[in-house]
Amino acid sequence: MTYLVPLPVVMPLLGAALTLLLLGRPRAQRWVSLTVLTATVAVAATLLVRSSMDGPLVVEVGGWVAPLGIVLVADQLAALMLVVSASVTLCVLVYSIGQGMADGSEETPLSVYHPTYLVLTAGVCNAFLSGDLFNLYVGFEILLVASYVLLTLGSTETRIRAGTTYVVVSLLSSVIFLIAIGLVYASTGTLNLAQLVDRLDALPDDLRLLLQGMLLLAFGIKAAVFPLSAWLPDSYPTAPAPVTAVFAGLLTKVGVYAIIRTETLLFPGGRTATLLLVTAVLTMVVGILGAVAQSDIKRLLSFTLISHIGYMLFGVGLTSSLGLSAAIFYVVHHITIQTTLFLAAGLVERRGGSTAMDRLGGLARLSPLLAVLFFVPALNLAGIPPFSGFLGKLGLVQAGIDDGGPLAWILVVGGLLTSLLTLYAVARVWNLAFWRAPHPDMPAGDDAEQAARTDGAVEPDEGTAGQSGAVLPKLMIAPTIALVAFGLALTVVAGPLFELSTDAADDLLRRTPYVDAVFPGGAP
């Protein structure tokens, strides 16, 4: 079964090459991308099943033996991340196809969109699967370069402005990561994660702390942890809705994944636990206070994204099995929900012509379906009981109380406060955009009237059915519904999912399953 392991990286890359060859044939490009991503979801699901039955699956790339060559490792954590991220990218792809077709971009296609999107997927998968620090760097670079292109699509003035900040900050974090890699190699003579386990343990404490700090700094910028998060709300909201959605769901989570991996596998023992917990509470509270102050839905959601990264750090910082397991559960939940919310925001922009809350209103009456599609994930994000957001937060709070230290209690309080303020922030969106009377600037009439107007024999008048033509395309609604349902399904399967994340967390904390899988005869 190990031949499956490289496929989530190889297939999107090949698909990217193929879509590049098919430039100018949007229909063929769409089918290639859809096929590739569907296959990736299937492979990822198989990997998840196999890795939870037989332990981590390992492939030595090119047949080079482990410490010399590069290994790809699919353990439970990596496979779980793969499944969730592949499903989310597939849904967002369908959404963007729907948006592209509705905007009539068949005549003027942004033909690099599909190849770049697939390269982004390959980079994300490579980062999850990598069993080698340098390969992790390469995975990061692949996804970052693809994200630069996606963020500046169309190269309009606002996107160039936002892209500049994003590119410069990301480049800096990449250089820091590269320097950290240089230092790790100089002090241990290897970059293979499994081999580093023993070699790092043998290093003097101060040197280890330096290496750990460098890696945390690099990943902290990518994960948008509080003092390093200012770039995110500045750059994400300007991109097209599907791009923002996939960035929000995946890119920061790759950073969180890298933090989880290095903190458990390479630097166990929690020497930076205090640092992680303090940044966690600051990220949560400062992030959500930023969200409360926003008047634009996309910017508000960007701030909730930062804020909820704090929950994951909280779980990692506790270094207990329950904390880590809750953090993994929370990552899965948050990837899904944050993406769904950004897709819903894209629909709001389409329906109401804007995402500025002072220019929206009455959407609940005008488009009840859209209201439901926003309302459910919004409550899920805030952590209202039956939803997965509540379960994840419950796990974290329990882990915090079990820990019992004063800092853990501060985090429990901070976490609950953040949850409450998240509810306040999304309730504000709900009140302003959905509940009050429709704004005079908005396209009038409810969904049925709009549909009748476009379906009718009469040509739509010049202005009304332009870019922000108020009918929502089915291909944009369907993937949003699918993701909302996926988010609800996380509640239904929460029991097995929590067991899975607990298994993954236990394996991470024991470290031996990972090392034994890479070096069956013991590390050299």
Binding site: V145, Y148, S155, V168, L178, G182, Y185, A186
Partner: protein, 156 residues
């Protein structure tokens, strides 16, 4: 293995110069900074491995070979830096095309807050409206940098 002092000094200078340039407003200078920083990081990678003869079996005895792995990694890093340089150049060119300059502009939020502060005659901003275009070696204290960034932002 002890690292070569020359290397260390060169790396230090490259990184210091790179960071200084990275803090500039002009994207072209930022690009130069990124290149210098990248080269510093590459040299650092190189010092991490053992120095010696070419690592080819038959030409050098095994003990005297240099470590090939850092060189492979540097090659990868150089290729990535090359791609990034091309992209940043394109970005700077496009920015110049659109705005007539390639300066990194202020955060939208920052600009809004500064506009608000100006309108309200907010704290410490009373003389910001009459901000002249002199450099930041002006010793008037805390509010001067705020005013200059506000001006830089508004030119965009």
């Amino acid at each position: 293995m002890t690292p070569n002092l020359t290397y260390v000094i060169v790396i230090g200078v490259l990184v210091a110069a790179g960071v200084t340039l990275l803090l500039e407003r002009s994207l072209t200078r930022v690009l130069m900074g990124v290149i210098l920083l990248g080269n510093g990081a590459n040299l650092l990678l190189l010092t991490g491995g053992q120095a010696g003869g070419p690592p080819i079996v038959g030409t050098t005895p095994q003990e005297e070979m240099s470590d090939p792995l850092p060189q492979a990694m540097i090659l990868t890093a150089i290729v990535i830096t090359l791609g990034m340089t091309a992209f940043l150049l394109a970005l700077a060119y496009r920015s110049w095309h659109l705005n007539g300059h390639d300066e990194v502009q202020d955060d939208v939020e920052d600009r809004r807050i500064m506009d608000l502060a100006e309108r309200d005659e907010g704290p410490g901003d009373a003389d910001a409206g009459s901000g002249d275009d002199d450099d930041d070696d002006d010793p008037t204290g805390g509010n001067r940098p705020v005013a200059t960034t506000a001006d830089a932002g508004r030119t965009g």
